[in-house]
């Protein structure tokens, strides 16, 4: 009993100094406000983000699998071919428009892909936050399986990596079904600059 | 007379380094507002004109100009003045450190 009290006494200052996850969320909801098209509610966490935050983006493998399976269920895979127009896809990949509080409602959003990824060799202005996607289709082909993976990954990246830093571009309402198809083509079409 | 100017003139090996900061909107034909930009900058060393620059709309707002004047000595009086397309002007004087 004495050991337990002692251990608790040692732990107490550490516990008190660190704010609880719920307290942190409450502070966010209190200190942020709706502006433009972005609602205050966006600063509250859904279940998966709460878990990712608490586990420093490294949840235990078993838990990650459950979370990923859940996220996979949210993806409405279209019927038929998932390949759109790579020329439109390139514009979507280059565009960083949309979803901020200064963006007007109703304007087409971009995918901001080049912010984080290398894609076509000719474009040197690319970020390195995500892996390079150079020659993506050349390396993996453009069969139905690969198309499905790419579509799913763009719609909801967390279905494949629970705490991915990549936004859930379809699920969040950023990109339309057609836009994601066009990005699939940009990555997989042999004629796309990504695969030259 | 508009916003402040700031100038630093320091003696280096064989030349005087002059840095001038100017406050000016430098509104160009690219904007919807009336043109308002610096057209000329004059530099005087101990009262004698040493630089007369014709500035155009290509220069950005709040320009920073750096010059190197041949020779010079500590205590030299450097004066930099500008004149814009509206006839407004400003000037600043400093001694070479």
């Amino acid at each position: 009993m004495r050991v337990l009290t002692f251990a608790l006494a040692l732990a107490a200052p550490l516990v008190l100094a660190e704010p609880s996850a719920r307290h942190v969320e409450e502070i966010h909801v209190r200190d942020f406000h709706t502006k433009g098209i972005v609602k205050r509610e966006a600063v509250a966490q859904d279940g998966i983000l709460r878990i990712c935050t608490i586990t420093n983006d490294r949840p235990p493998a078993a838990l990650a699998q459950v979370l990923e399976a859940d996220q996979l269920k949210t993806i409405p895979f279209p019927a038929g071919s998932l390949m759109g127009d790579w020329k439109r896809g390139e514009n979507i990949a280059q565009s960083g428009r949309g979803m901020t509080w200064t963006d007007p409602a109703g304007t087409p959003n971009g995918g901001s892909c080049y912010n984080c990824h290398q894609l076509a060799a000719k474009e040197i202005s690319f970020g390195t936050l995500g892996p390079t996607l150079l020659a993506f289709g050349k390396k993996r082909g453009s069969g139905a399986d690969v198309q499905k993976y790419v579509y799913g990954k763009i719609y909801n990246a967390k279905a494949y990596n629970a705490c991915s830093q990549m936004p859930r571009l379809g699920w969040s309402g950023t990109l339309t079904e057609q836009q994601i198809r066009d990005l699939v083509a940009y990555l997989l079409d042999p004629a796309s600059p990504v695969n030259q | 007379m508009s916003g402040p100017m700031k100038m630093r003139a320091t003696l280096a090996a064989g030349y005087t380094d002059v840095r001038v900061l100017m406050t000016h909107p430098m509104t160009t034909a690219q904007s919807n507002q009336p043109l308002h930009f610096i057209q000329s900058v004059t530099v005087k060393q101990n009262g004698r004109t040493v630089v007369e620059a014709q500035i155009s709309q290509a220069v950005s707002r709040n320009p920073v100009f750096t010059f190197r004047l041949k020779g010079g000595a500590k205590g030299d009086k450097i004066e930099v003045s500008w004149l814009d397309n509206k006839g407004e002007s400003n000037k600043i004087e400093a001694s070479v450190a």
């Binding site: 502070i27 200190d31 972005v38 509080w101 | -």
Partner: protein, 262 residues
């Protein structure tokens, strides 16, 4: 002839990107040697001394942590706990306190227009430039001993790693790993000493592309905008805690601001 042209045009992209990085560094060095930010400092000093508000008083008795009117080195010791307001405050919230207490201005009026634009900078931006300029060369020594300072530090750390918003981002999503960049903009790791020291000591800054002096509250505000979050309240507990966390992490380095950025 055509063969020669195509050989010349086939520059290795890696070399091209490296040249771009060198040019960017050269540009940044040039900016550091003579910056319009100094013009904001001059005007800020005038505003600091200008009698304003119902009490027709200047800000010259404002206590920024080192005693009334003591400005030299004050920014290098902010944010910090203040007894009179019983909370941790950053520079901007402290200036608002002084505007209301010393000058008798209403909090609403003092915070009405804290972010200006190129045609009309905000009073806050001039004042901030002046105060931070007076800490140029001073070693960062942000206090972290009072219980409320420690609480702000811990909260700030949690805010840094908190994942939310339409795109699931935390500050760490971009500023969490070394040698990463977004497009061509290098991203310092702000939660660790080296990155925090590099970044924190050159903000607030004059942004050449905007022709404006941008404050720390603005920098945090615009980060959240790009993160697809809703807007944070000006000088809210969350933003001050975040600032305190980064500032303490930057301790030991000489403050070099105000900076000049792209």
């Amino acid at each position: 002839m055509r063969l020669l042209v195509s050989l010349v045009c086939a520059l290795p992209l890696a070399a091209f990107a490296q040249d771009a990085k060198k040019e960017i560094e050269k540009y940044q060095q040039m900016l550091g040697e003579g910056s319009p930010a100094e013009l904001w400092e001059v005007q800020g000093e005038e505003l600091w001394k200008k009698p304003q508000g119902p009490k027709k008083a200047s800000l010259e008795r404002c206590d920024l942590g080192l005693g009334p009117g003591k400005v030299a080195g004050a920014y290098a010791r902010l944010p910090r706990y203040f007894k009179d307001t019983d909370k941790v405050q950053d520079l901007e919230s402290r200036l608002v306190t002084c505007m209301t207490e010393l000058q008798g201005r209403s909090p609403k009026e003092a915070t009405q227009r804290v972010f200006g634009n190129a045609d009309r900078p905000a009073e806050m931006e001039y004042l901030v430039a002046y105060i931070v300029g007076q800490s140029r060369g001073h070693k960062m020594a942000v206090p972290n001993s009072h219980p409320k300072e420690r609480a702000a530090y811990e909260l700030g750390k949690k805010v840094f790693f908190y994942r939310a918003g339409t795109w699931d981002f935390s500050c760490a999503s971009c500023h969490g790993e070394t040698d990463k960049r977004i497009r061509m903009q290098d991203l310092p790791v702000l939660s660790e000493r080296e990155g925090a020291q590099k970044a924190y000591t050159t903000w607030p800054a004059y942004r050449v592309s905007n022709s404006q002096l941008k404050t720390m509250q603005w920098r945090i505000n615009d980060c959240y905008r790009q993160m697809r979050y809703p807007e944070p309240e000006f000088a809210s507990e969350a933003t001050i805690a975040l600032t305190h966390f980064m500032a303490v992490t930057a301790n030991g380095a000489p403050y070099r601001g105000p900076g000049t950025k792209r």
